[in-house]
Amino acid sequence: MVARYDSLALLTAVALVLSGFAASGQEAERKGIPAPPGHVFKTIISGYEYRSKETRALQDDDLENPGFLAIERATDMWKTVEGSEGKSCMSCHGDAETSMKGVGAAMPKWSEKLNKPVNLEQQINICRSEHMKAEPWAFKSQQLTDMTAFVRNQSRGMPVTVKTDGPMSPWFEKGKQIYYTRVGQLDLACASCHEQNNGKFLRADFLSQGQSNGFPTYRLRDQRLIPLHERFEGCMFDVRGVPYKPLSDEFLALELYVAWRGIGLPVETPSVRN
Protein backbone atom coordinates (compact mmCIF):
# COMPACT_ATOMS: atom_id res chain seq x y z
CA MET A 1 0.00 0.00 0.00
CA VAL A 2 2.78 2.39 0.91
CA ALA A 3 4.38 1.89 -2.48
CA ARG A 4 1.08 2.66 -4.18
CA TYR A 5 0.66 5.99 -2.44
CA ASP A 6 4.27 6.83 -3.17
CA SER A 7 3.85 6.19 -6.87
CA LEU A 8 0.78 8.38 -7.08
CA ALA A 9 2.59 11.10 -5.21
CA LEU A 10 5.41 10.84 -7.69
CA LEU A 11 3.07 11.13 -10.65
CA THR A 12 1.38 14.06 -9.00
CA ALA A 13 4.79 15.65 -8.62
CA VAL A 14 5.38 15.21 -12.34
CA ALA A 15 1.97 16.72 -12.99
CA LEU A 16 2.82 19.71 -10.81
CA VAL A 17 6.11 20.26 -12.62
CA LEU A 18 4.28 20.24 -15.91
CA SER A 19 1.48 22.49 -14.76
CA GLY A 20 3.98 25.35 -15.05
CA PHE A 21 2.99 26.02 -18.64
CA ALA A 22 -0.76 26.06 -18.09
CA ALA A 23 -2.56 27.68 -20.97
CA SER A 24 -4.48 30.83 -20.34
CA GLY A 25 -8.16 30.06 -20.26
CA GLN A 26 -7.59 26.71 -18.67
CA GLU A 27 -7.17 28.46 -15.35
CA ALA A 28 -10.49 30.17 -15.78
CA GLU A 29 -13.36 29.30 -13.48
CA ARG A 30 -15.00 26.08 -14.57
CA LYS A 31 -18.76 26.07 -14.40
CA GLY A 32 -20.60 22.98 -13.26
CA ILE A 33 -23.80 21.78 -11.73
CA PRO A 34 -24.34 20.96 -8.05
CA ALA A 35 -24.12 17.23 -7.44
CA PRO A 36 -26.93 15.35 -5.67
CA PRO A 37 -26.37 14.30 -2.03
CA GLY A 38 -24.02 11.35 -1.62
CA HIS A 39 -22.23 12.04 -4.91
CA VAL A 40 -18.44 11.89 -5.19
CA PHE A 41 -18.13 15.47 -6.43
CA LYS A 42 -19.55 18.68 -5.00
CA THR A 43 -19.77 20.12 -8.48
CA ILE A 44 -20.15 18.02 -11.61
CA ILE A 45 -18.22 19.58 -14.48
CA SER A 46 -18.39 18.72 -18.17
CA GLY A 47 -15.18 18.06 -20.09
CA TYR A 48 -16.09 21.13 -22.16
CA GLU A 49 -15.00 23.34 -19.26
CA TYR A 50 -11.52 21.82 -19.23
CA ARG A 51 -10.79 22.53 -22.88
CA SER A 52 -9.11 25.57 -24.42
CA LYS A 53 -11.16 28.45 -25.78
CA GLU A 54 -10.24 27.37 -29.32
CA THR A 55 -11.55 23.84 -28.77
CA ARG A 56 -14.72 25.12 -27.08
CA ALA A 57 -15.31 27.42 -30.04
CA LEU A 58 -15.35 24.40 -32.37
CA GLN A 59 -18.20 22.93 -30.34
CA ASP A 60 -20.09 26.20 -29.90
CA ASP A 61 -21.11 26.50 -33.55
CA ASP A 62 -22.89 23.58 -35.20
CA LEU A 63 -21.47 24.45 -38.61
CA GLU A 64 -17.92 24.66 -37.30
CA ASN A 65 -18.32 21.43 -35.30
CA PRO A 66 -17.05 18.58 -37.54
CA GLY A 67 -19.10 16.11 -35.47
CA PHE A 68 -22.15 17.32 -37.34
CA LEU A 69 -20.89 15.68 -40.52
CA ALA A 70 -21.69 12.41 -38.74
CA ILE A 71 -25.10 13.63 -37.61
CA GLU A 72 -25.91 14.53 -41.20
CA ARG A 73 -24.79 11.13 -42.52
CA ALA A 74 -26.94 9.38 -39.90
CA THR A 75 -29.94 11.60 -40.71
CA ASP A 76 -29.89 9.96 -44.16
CA MET A 77 -29.21 6.49 -42.74
CA TRP A 78 -32.20 6.79 -40.40
CA LYS A 79 -34.45 6.76 -43.48
CA THR A 80 -32.51 4.11 -45.40
CA VAL A 81 -34.21 0.72 -45.77
CA GLU A 82 -31.87 -2.17 -45.01
CA GLY A 83 -32.24 -5.89 -44.28
CA SER A 84 -34.74 -8.53 -45.34
CA GLU A 85 -37.68 -6.97 -43.47
CA GLY A 86 -37.62 -3.97 -45.80
CA LYS A 87 -37.44 -1.54 -42.88
CA SER A 88 -35.49 1.55 -41.97
CA CYS A 89 -35.13 3.02 -38.45
CA MET A 90 -37.92 5.37 -39.45
CA SER A 91 -40.33 2.54 -40.31
CA CYS A 92 -40.72 1.78 -36.59
CA HIS A 93 -39.60 5.00 -34.89
CA GLY A 94 -40.88 7.69 -37.24
CA ASP A 95 -39.33 11.09 -36.82
CA ALA A 96 -36.20 10.79 -34.68
CA GLU A 97 -36.57 14.33 -33.36
CA THR A 98 -39.64 13.25 -31.38
CA SER A 99 -39.21 9.49 -30.93
CA MET A 100 -35.55 9.61 -29.86
CA LYS A 101 -35.79 12.69 -27.65
CA GLY A 102 -34.44 11.75 -24.23
CA VAL A 103 -33.51 8.19 -25.23
CA GLY A 104 -29.76 8.77 -25.42
CA ALA A 105 -29.69 10.70 -22.13
CA ALA A 106 -30.96 7.63 -20.23
CA MET A 107 -28.60 4.95 -21.57
CA PRO A 108 -27.48 2.36 -20.63
CA LYS A 109 -30.88 1.02 -19.62
CA TRP A 110 -32.13 -2.34 -18.37
CA SER A 111 -33.25 -4.94 -20.91
CA GLU A 112 -35.80 -7.38 -19.48
CA LYS A 113 -35.29 -9.66 -22.45
CA LEU A 114 -31.52 -9.93 -22.12
CA ASN A 115 -31.58 -9.61 -18.32
CA LYS A 116 -28.73 -7.08 -18.48
CA PRO A 117 -28.22 -3.40 -19.29
CA VAL A 118 -27.73 -2.38 -22.92
CA ASN A 119 -26.14 0.77 -24.23
CA LEU A 120 -27.03 2.78 -27.32
CA GLU A 121 -24.68 0.95 -29.69
CA GLN A 122 -26.08 -2.40 -28.56
CA GLN A 123 -29.69 -1.22 -28.84
CA ILE A 124 -29.09 0.03 -32.40
CA ASN A 125 -27.68 -3.36 -33.36
CA ILE A 126 -30.54 -5.19 -31.61
CA CYS A 127 -32.94 -3.15 -33.77
CA ARG A 128 -30.93 -3.99 -36.87
CA SER A 129 -30.66 -7.72 -36.32
CA GLU A 130 -34.07 -8.37 -34.75
CA HIS A 131 -36.42 -5.91 -36.41
CA MET A 132 -34.75 -5.01 -39.70
CA LYS A 133 -33.05 -8.39 -40.18
CA ALA A 134 -29.99 -6.48 -41.25
CA GLU A 135 -26.35 -7.13 -40.39
CA PRO A 136 -25.33 -5.52 -37.12
CA TRP A 137 -22.71 -2.81 -37.47
CA ALA A 138 -19.23 -3.45 -36.09
CA PHE A 139 -18.10 -1.42 -33.10
CA LYS A 140 -15.97 1.57 -34.27
CA SER A 141 -17.56 1.36 -37.73
CA GLN A 142 -18.46 4.79 -39.03
CA GLN A 143 -22.12 3.76 -39.35
CA LEU A 144 -22.53 2.63 -35.74
CA THR A 145 -20.72 5.64 -34.31
CA ASP A 146 -22.65 8.03 -36.57
CA MET A 147 -26.01 6.52 -35.62
CA THR A 148 -25.12 6.48 -31.92
CA ALA A 149 -24.18 10.15 -32.13
CA PHE A 150 -27.36 10.94 -34.05
CA VAL A 151 -29.63 9.31 -31.47
CA ARG A 152 -27.71 10.93 -28.58
CA ASN A 153 -27.91 14.27 -30.35
CA GLN A 154 -31.72 14.15 -30.12
CA SER A 155 -31.21 14.55 -26.35
CA ARG A 156 -28.76 17.43 -26.64
CA GLY A 157 -29.22 19.80 -23.73
CA MET A 158 -31.23 17.27 -21.72
CA PRO A 159 -29.78 16.05 -18.42
CA VAL A 160 -28.07 12.67 -18.16
CA THR A 161 -30.54 10.50 -16.21
CA VAL A 162 -29.46 6.89 -15.79
CA LYS A 163 -31.26 4.46 -13.48
CA THR A 164 -28.88 2.74 -11.09
CA ASP A 165 -31.25 0.96 -8.72
CA GLY A 166 -33.17 -2.33 -8.92
CA PRO A 167 -31.57 -4.85 -11.28
CA MET A 168 -29.03 -2.18 -12.33
CA SER A 169 -27.63 -2.07 -8.82
CA PRO A 170 -25.05 -4.90 -9.14
CA TRP A 171 -23.92 -3.45 -12.48
CA PHE A 172 -23.48 -0.07 -10.86
CA GLU A 173 -21.38 -1.63 -8.09
CA LYS A 174 -19.30 -3.51 -10.66
CA GLY A 175 -18.70 -0.30 -12.60
CA LYS A 176 -17.71 1.49 -9.42
CA GLN A 177 -15.26 -1.27 -8.56
CA ILE A 178 -13.65 -1.02 -12.01
CA TYR A 179 -13.45 2.77 -11.67
CA TYR A 180 -11.42 2.51 -8.47
CA THR A 181 -9.24 -0.46 -9.46
CA ARG A 182 -5.66 0.36 -10.39
CA VAL A 183 -4.53 -1.26 -13.61
CA GLY A 184 -1.57 -1.41 -15.96
CA GLN A 185 2.15 -0.81 -15.53
CA LEU A 186 1.45 2.76 -14.45
CA ASP A 187 -0.85 1.39 -11.75
CA LEU A 188 -3.57 3.98 -12.17
CA ALA A 189 -7.31 3.75 -11.69
CA CYS A 190 -9.87 5.97 -13.46
CA ALA A 191 -10.16 7.77 -10.12
CA SER A 192 -6.41 8.48 -9.91
CA CYS A 193 -6.65 10.92 -12.80
CA HIS A 194 -10.28 11.97 -13.05
CA GLU A 195 -11.31 12.11 -9.39
CA GLN A 196 -8.13 13.00 -7.50
CA ASN A 197 -6.29 15.03 -10.12
CA ASN A 198 -8.77 16.68 -12.43
CA GLY A 199 -7.82 20.27 -13.16
CA LYS A 200 -4.12 19.34 -13.14
CA PHE A 201 -1.68 18.44 -15.86
CA LEU A 202 -0.41 14.89 -16.27
CA ARG A 203 2.43 15.25 -18.77
CA ALA A 204 0.86 17.29 -21.57
CA ASP A 205 -2.68 16.36 -20.59
CA PHE A 206 -5.05 18.60 -18.73
CA LEU A 207 -7.19 16.19 -16.76
CA SER A 208 -10.97 16.53 -16.67
CA GLN A 209 -13.52 14.78 -14.48
CA GLY A 210 -13.78 12.16 -17.22
CA GLN A 211 -17.47 12.77 -17.88
CA SER A 212 -19.29 10.95 -20.68
CA ASN A 213 -22.03 13.51 -21.50
CA GLY A 214 -20.39 14.56 -24.78
CA PHE A 215 -19.88 11.09 -26.30
CA PRO A 216 -19.49 10.07 -29.05
CA THR A 217 -17.09 12.98 -29.22
CA TYR A 218 -15.10 14.52 -32.08
CA ARG A 219 -11.48 14.18 -30.95
CA LEU A 220 -9.02 16.64 -32.44
CA ARG A 221 -6.34 13.96 -32.09
CA ASP A 222 -8.21 11.44 -34.26
CA GLN A 223 -10.10 13.97 -36.39
CA ARG A 224 -13.21 11.77 -36.15
CA LEU A 225 -15.97 10.78 -33.75
CA ILE A 226 -14.88 8.47 -30.93
CA PRO A 227 -17.39 6.26 -29.09
CA LEU A 228 -17.13 6.03 -25.29
CA HIS A 229 -15.79 2.47 -25.15
CA GLU A 230 -12.99 3.41 -27.55
CA ARG A 231 -12.02 6.18 -25.12
CA PHE A 232 -12.13 3.67 -22.22
CA GLU A 233 -9.85 1.39 -24.25
CA GLY A 234 -7.54 4.34 -24.91
CA CYS A 235 -7.31 5.23 -21.21
CA MET A 236 -6.46 1.66 -20.25
CA PHE A 237 -3.91 1.46 -23.03
CA ASP A 238 -2.38 4.77 -21.90
CA VAL A 239 -1.76 3.39 -18.41
CA ARG A 240 -0.17 0.39 -20.14
CA GLY A 241 -2.90 -2.00 -19.14
CA VAL A 242 -4.81 -4.59 -21.12
CA PRO A 243 -8.15 -2.98 -22.00
CA TYR A 244 -11.47 -4.76 -21.68
CA LYS A 245 -13.28 -5.36 -24.97
CA PRO A 246 -15.66 -2.70 -26.29
CA LEU A 247 -19.27 -3.59 -25.45
CA SER A 248 -18.05 -6.11 -22.83
CA ASP A 249 -19.96 -6.42 -19.54
CA GLU A 250 -17.05 -4.65 -17.83
CA PHE A 251 -17.20 -1.57 -20.07
CA LEU A 252 -20.99 -1.57 -19.92
CA ALA A 253 -20.86 -1.51 -16.11
CA LEU A 254 -18.26 1.26 -16.30
CA GLU A 255 -20.39 3.22 -18.78
CA LEU A 256 -23.33 3.03 -16.35
CA TYR A 257 -21.22 4.11 -13.39
CA VAL A 258 -19.52 6.95 -15.30
CA ALA A 259 -22.92 8.17 -16.55
CA TRP A 260 -24.03 8.36 -12.90
CA ARG A 261 -20.92 10.38 -12.02
CA GLY A 262 -22.16 12.91 -14.57
CA ILE A 263 -25.81 12.77 -13.57
CA GLY A 264 -27.64 15.95 -14.49
CA LEU A 265 -25.02 17.20 -16.96
CA PRO A 266 -26.53 18.22 -20.29
CA VAL A 267 -25.93 15.84 -23.19
CA GLU A 268 -23.47 17.59 -25.55
CA THR A 269 -23.20 14.99 -28.32
CA PRO A 270 -21.40 15.55 -30.63
CA SER A 271 -18.96 17.39 -28.37
CA VAL A 272 -15.42 18.42 -29.40
CA ARG A 273 -12.52 17.31 -27.23
CA ASN A 274 -8.76 16.96 -27.59
Binding site: S7, A23, S24, T55, L186, D205, Q223
Partner: protein
Protein backbone atom coordinates in the same frame (compact mmCIF):
# COMPACT_ATOMS: atom_id res chain seq x y z
CA UNK B 1 10.68 2.08 3.30
CA UNK B 2 14.33 2.86 2.81
CA UNK B 3 15.41 1.72 -0.63
CA UNK B 4 13.51 2.60 -3.75
CA UNK B 5 11.56 -0.38 -5.05
CA UNK B 6 11.23 -1.50 -8.64
CA UNK B 7 7.90 0.21 -9.26
CA UNK B 8 9.13 3.51 -7.90
CA UNK B 9 12.26 3.28 -10.00
CA UNK B 10 10.16 2.63 -13.07
CA UNK B 11 7.84 5.54 -12.41
CA UNK B 12 10.73 7.86 -11.71
CA UNK B 13 12.26 6.83 -15.03
CA UNK B 14 8.92 7.47 -16.72
CA UNK B 15 8.73 10.90 -15.16
CA UNK B 16 12.19 11.81 -16.42
CA UNK B 17 11.37 10.61 -19.91
CA UNK B 18 8.24 12.72 -19.82
CA UNK B 19 10.27 15.77 -18.88
CA UNK B 20 12.83 15.25 -21.62
CA UNK B 21 10.09 14.92 -24.21
CA UNK B 22 8.38 18.14 -23.22
CA UNK B 23 8.52 20.80 -25.90
CA UNK B 24 9.69 23.69 -23.74
CA UNK B 25 10.71 26.25 -26.33
CA UNK B 26 10.12 27.08 -29.95
CA UNK B 27 13.46 25.95 -31.24
CA UNK B 28 12.26 23.85 -34.18
CA UNK B 29 14.94 23.87 -36.84
CA UNK B 30 13.57 25.15 -40.14
CA UNK B 31 14.47 21.86 -41.77
CA UNK B 32 11.79 21.75 -44.45
CA UNK B 33 11.11 23.69 -47.66
CA UNK B 34 9.28 26.59 -45.97
CA UNK B 35 11.98 29.13 -46.86
CA UNK B 36 12.06 28.04 -50.51
CA UNK B 37 8.28 28.24 -50.76
CA UNK B 38 8.36 31.80 -49.44
CA UNK B 39 11.14 32.70 -51.88
CA UNK B 40 9.15 31.28 -54.77
CA UNK B 41 6.04 33.19 -53.67
CA UNK B 42 7.80 36.53 -53.20
CA UNK B 43 10.23 36.17 -56.11
CA UNK B 44 13.00 36.84 -53.61
CA UNK B 45 11.65 40.28 -52.67
CA UNK B 46 11.63 41.37 -49.05
CA UNK B 47 8.23 41.29 -47.30
CA UNK B 48 7.47 44.11 -44.87
CA UNK B 49 5.94 43.53 -41.47
CA UNK B 50 2.47 44.80 -40.63
CA UNK B 51 -1.04 44.62 -42.12
CA UNK B 52 -1.45 40.93 -41.26
CA UNK B 53 -2.95 39.68 -38.06
CA UNK B 54 -2.88 35.98 -37.24
CA UNK B 55 -5.08 34.33 -34.66
CA UNK B 56 -3.50 31.06 -33.51
CA UNK B 57 -3.48 29.42 -30.08
CA UNK B 58 -0.30 29.94 -28.09
CA UNK B 59 -0.49 26.27 -27.12
CA UNK B 60 -2.41 23.96 -29.43
CA UNK B 61 -4.64 21.55 -27.56
CA UNK B 62 -3.84 19.03 -30.27
CA UNK B 63 -1.48 19.50 -33.21
CA UNK B 64 -3.81 17.63 -35.55
CA UNK B 65 -6.45 20.36 -35.52
CA UNK B 66 -5.18 23.89 -34.91
CA UNK B 67 -7.64 26.67 -35.75
CA UNK B 68 -6.03 29.51 -37.72
CA UNK B 69 -7.67 32.85 -38.55
CA UNK B 70 -6.23 35.56 -40.75
CA UNK B 71 -7.10 39.22 -41.21
CA UNK B 72 -5.24 41.48 -43.62
CA UNK B 73 -5.76 45.22 -43.41
CA UNK B 74 -6.95 46.20 -46.91
CA UNK B 75 -9.88 48.16 -48.40
CA UNK B 76 -10.49 45.24 -50.82
CA UNK B 77 -11.52 47.55 -53.68
CA UNK B 78 -10.98 46.82 -57.39
CA UNK B 79 -7.65 48.70 -57.42
CA UNK B 80 -6.41 47.92 -53.93
CA UNK B 81 -6.88 44.43 -52.58
CA UNK B 82 -5.09 41.40 -51.18
CA UNK B 83 -4.44 38.94 -54.00
CA UNK B 84 -2.89 35.96 -52.29
CA UNK B 85 -1.76 34.81 -48.88
CA UNK B 86 0.76 32.00 -48.52
CA UNK B 87 0.87 29.98 -45.29
CA UNK B 88 3.88 27.86 -44.44
CA UNK B 89 4.93 26.00 -41.29
CA UNK B 90 8.66 25.60 -40.66
CA UNK B 91 8.57 22.44 -38.53
CA UNK B 92 6.28 20.11 -40.49
CA UNK B 93 7.56 17.38 -42.83
CA UNK B 94 6.59 19.70 -45.69
CA UNK B 95 6.50 23.46 -45.34
CA UNK B 96 3.37 24.10 -47.40
CA UNK B 97 0.07 24.66 -45.60
CA UNK B 98 -2.24 26.61 -47.92
CA UNK B 99 -2.43 29.49 -50.37
CA UNK B 100 -5.53 31.67 -50.14
CA UNK B 101 -6.68 33.63 -53.17
CA UNK B 102 -8.83 36.68 -52.52
CA UNK B 103 -10.60 39.05 -54.92
CA UNK B 104 -12.34 42.42 -54.61
CA UNK B 105 -15.55 40.36 -54.35
CA UNK B 106 -14.20 38.87 -51.12
CA UNK B 107 -15.17 42.15 -49.46
CA UNK B 108 -12.82 41.49 -46.56
CA UNK B 109 -9.40 39.83 -46.51
CA UNK B 110 -10.38 37.44 -43.74
CA UNK B 111 -10.36 33.66 -43.59
CA UNK B 112 -10.22 30.75 -41.16
CA UNK B 113 -8.87 27.24 -41.69
CA UNK B 114 -7.65 24.36 -39.47
CA UNK B 115 -4.13 23.11 -39.79
CA UNK B 116 -1.86 20.27 -38.67
CA UNK B 117 1.34 21.03 -36.80
CA UNK B 118 3.65 18.09 -36.14
CA UNK B 119 5.62 19.88 -33.38
CA UNK B 120 6.20 23.28 -31.84
CA UNK B 121 7.02 25.60 -34.72
CA UNK B 122 6.36 28.87 -36.52
CA UNK B 123 3.41 29.49 -38.79
CA UNK B 124 4.35 32.14 -41.35
CA UNK B 125 1.97 34.14 -43.54
CA UNK B 126 3.02 36.20 -46.55
CA UNK B 127 0.46 38.45 -48.25
CA UNK B 128 0.77 39.69 -51.82
CA UNK B 129 -1.22 42.86 -52.54
CA UNK B 130 -2.70 43.90 -55.90
CA UNK B 131 0.11 46.48 -56.30
CA UNK B 132 2.71 43.75 -55.81
CA UNK B 133 3.74 44.81 -52.30
CA UNK B 134 4.42 42.07 -49.77
CA UNK B 135 3.73 41.75 -46.06
CA UNK B 136 4.56 39.03 -43.60
CA UNK B 137 3.74 37.90 -40.10
CA UNK B 138 4.61 34.83 -38.02
CA UNK B 139 3.45 33.15 -34.83
CA UNK B 140 4.91 30.35 -32.77
CA UNK B 141 2.51 27.61 -31.75
CA UNK B 142 3.52 25.22 -29.00
CA UNK B 143 2.46 21.68 -29.74
CA UNK B 144 2.49 19.12 -26.98
CA UNK B 145 3.36 15.58 -27.98
CA UNK B 146 2.70 12.47 -25.95
CA UNK B 147 0.23 11.74 -23.22
CA UNK B 148 -3.38 10.72 -23.59
CA UNK B 149 -4.13 13.39 -26.18
CA UNK B 150 -0.92 12.73 -28.14
Amino acid sequence: MGAINRRQAFLLGGGLVALTLMPMTADAEPSNDAAELIKKFTGGKEAASGKISLDLPEIAENGNTVPLSLTVDSPMTADNYVKEVLFVADGNPNGGVATLMFSPLSGKAEASIRIRLAQTQNVIAVAKMSDGSLFTERKTVKVTIGGCGG
